[in-house]
Subunit: 293 residues, 2 copies
C-alpha cells in the first residue's frame, strides 16, 4: 500500500528564511541534554531542509513495509531499557515520529495515525530511532513522560506467562523487568515488608535498610574491594563480583532515599551526552588542562 507522507514532511517545507538544524550527539546549544535533537530555527536558506527532506524520503523508501504498508514499532525507554509498548507504524507514522520526536503509530482498528500521549499527555519523547537488519522492524528509543499503558501501568507488559503457569496464585501484576530493575523491585519489597507486622528476623537487605551505619560501612568496604581488584591485579571475575556488591549495596541506599535507578541513569545520560562528567571532573581537577570531552 502506497502511503503518502506529504503532511509529514511539511515541517521541513520551510520558507527560504528558515533552516532546520539537525544535530546528533547532544551538541545542540538549545537543549544541552538531548542526545539527539532536531531543532527548527529561523534564518537560513532552504538547502539544508530540502537535503534532509530528500534523505527522509530515501529512508522511508528503504523500509520494508508489509502488504498493509506497516512495520512493527517498539517503544523502548532510553534509560531503563524497558519495552514500553508495541504498535505498528506506516510511512506517515514514522515520518511524523522523525519530525515531531513523539512516538507515533498507525492504529489498525481506527485506520488513523495516533501519537502516544495525545490523550493522556504521556508522550514518548524520541531520542533515536533504529531499524533492524531486515528493515521491517523499528525501535522508538525514547523517554516517556509518564506511564505508557492505558491501564496506568508503566509498560504494557505486566502479564508473566510463567507466573500464570505456576501453581501459586499470582498477587497483582509483575512487569517484564530486566535484572537491574528486578533487583530494585526486590529491595523495595523488602522495604515495604519492614512496615508489616514482624515476620521473624529481618533479611540481610532489611538489616541494611534499618541500619545506616552498617549500610554505609558496606558501601565504602565494597568500593574499596572493587578498587583492590585493580590495584592488586585480581582476575576479571573478582571485579565483576565486587562491582555487583557495590551496585547492590548502593541500590539499597537509593531505595532508602526513594531514588529510582532510572533517575540515576537519567543523570548519567544528561552528563555523558555532553561529556558532562568529564567536564565536571576537569573543573574539579585543578591541575588538569585536558581537552573535552
Amino acid at each position: 500500500m502506497a502511503v503518502s507522507y506529504v503532511h509529514c514532511v511539511q515541517p521541513w517545507r520551510v520558507s527560504s528564511k528558515t533552516r532546520l538544524f539537525f544535530s546528533v550527539g547532544g551538541r545542540c546549544r538549545e537543549d544541552r541534554w538531548k542526545s539527539n535533537c532536531l531543532v527548527f530555527a529561523s534564518a537560513m536558506n532552504s538547502d539544508v531542509s530540502l537535503n534532509l527532506q530528500s534523505k527522509v524520503e530515501v529512508l522511508l523508501d528503504s523500509v520494508k513495509w508489509d502488504d498493509k504498508g506497516l512495520a512493527v514499532a517498539i517503544a523502548q525507554n532510553v534509560d531503563s531499557g524497558a519495552i514500553l509498548m508495541q504498535g505498528f507504524a506506516n510511512r506517515d507514522a514514522l515520518a511524523t515520529t522523525i519530525s515531531s520526536q513523539k512516538a507515533t503509530f498507525y492504529s489498525r482498528s481506527r485506520s488513523t495515525l495516533w501519537t502516544k500521549g495525545e490523550t493522556s499527555k504521556n508522550f514518548i519523547n524520541i531520542h533515536d530511532i533504529f531499524l533492524d537488519c531486515d528493515r521491517d522492524s523499528i525501535i522508538y528509543l525514547g523517554k516517556p513522560d509518564g506511564p505508557t499503558c492505558h491501564t496506568g501501568s508503566e509498560t504494557c507488559y505486566y502479564t508473566s506467562i510463567f507466573d500464570h503457569l505456576k501453581d501459586q496464585e499470582v498477587e497483582g501484576n509483575r512487569l517484564a523487568l530486566t535484572t537491574l530493575y528486578s533487583l530494585e523491585s526486590t529491595i523495595s519489597q523488602r522495604k515495604e515488608e519492614l512496615a508489616a507486622p514482624e515476620n521473624g528476623k529481618p533479611s540481610w537487605t532489611q538489616r541494611l535498610l534499618l541500619d545506616d551505619n552498617l549500610l554505609c560501612s558496606k558501601i565504602r568496604e565494597e568500593a574499596d574491594e572493587l578498587c583492590r581488584t585493580l590495584e592488586e591485579n585480581e582476575d576479571k571475575s573478582r571485579t565483576a563480583s565486587e562491582m555487583a556488591d557495590v551496585m547492590y549495596h548502593a541500590m539499597v541506599l537509593l531505595t532508602l532515599k526513594n531514588v529510582k535507578t532510572e533517575e540515576v541513569l537519567e543523570v548519567l545520560r544528561q552528563r555523558f551526552s555532553k561529556s558532562g562528567i568529564e567536564e565536571k571532573r576537569s573543573r574539579k581537577a585543578l591541575n588538569y588542562e585536558g581537552n573535552l570531552p
Copy 2:
C-alpha cells in the same frame, strides 16, 4: 487461524513415572541461578503435567492471534535490556518456547517454526515470557548464547535513523543502546583512542584510564560522597548525582579490567534470584543470625 499445538505439549505428555517440576523464583535445586525454570524430572504421577498442560492451553487461547494466527514476539536480553530481535509467533511457536525455553518463532516466509539458534547455536534461553495488555504482543525475556543477528551483530537493531539523517557520514553501525550501555561504549571508545596516535591532551575519562591511583581514589571518594548523602540527610537529587558518579568511575574500572556491565548484571541476577547476596552477607556477618532471604 486455528493452530494445533499438540507437538508442543508432548514434553508434558509424560508417563505415570514422570513428573514435571515447575518452579519460579530460582528455587530449583537443579539450577541454582535460573530465576524461572521448568525442570522435567522423573518419578511422580501425571496429575501435575496434565494440570500444567491445561493451563498452557487456556493461556494460548487467551492470546489474541491476528487473522494469520500470529502475534508479534520481541526477544529482549534479560540482563542488559537490549532488544535482540523481533519476529512473529503462532500458537505452536509460543507453546514450543514455553516448553523448550528457547525463543521460537514462526517464519512467515518459510511457513514453518524456527528456533533462534537452531543453525548458529546462538539460542536465546528464556527466563520469562510476558504478554501485553492487549494480549497480542509477546516479550521473550532471555539470555542469548551469542550474537543474535545473522550478520554477527549482537542485536538486529544497528541502523540509527538519526545517524543516517545527519550530514556527517556514519562510521560503521551503532547499536540501539540504552543509557548504561551507551556510557560503556563511550568509555570503551576513549580506551581505544588511547592506542591511536596522540591527538592532543587526554580527556578526563582517558586520564582515569591511564592512572590507576587517580581512578581508585575517585571511586573511593565518590562512594564516600554517596554515603554522606544518607548520613547527612542530603536531598534526593544529590543522591542520584553521587550514585551517577560512583557508576561512571566504577565503569571506567570495569573497562580497564575488560569486564562488561552485562557480566556484572549476570552476577547480580544469579545472586539475587537465590538471595545469594543476602546469603553471602549473612555468612560474612558473623554476629548475624537473620532469616534468608
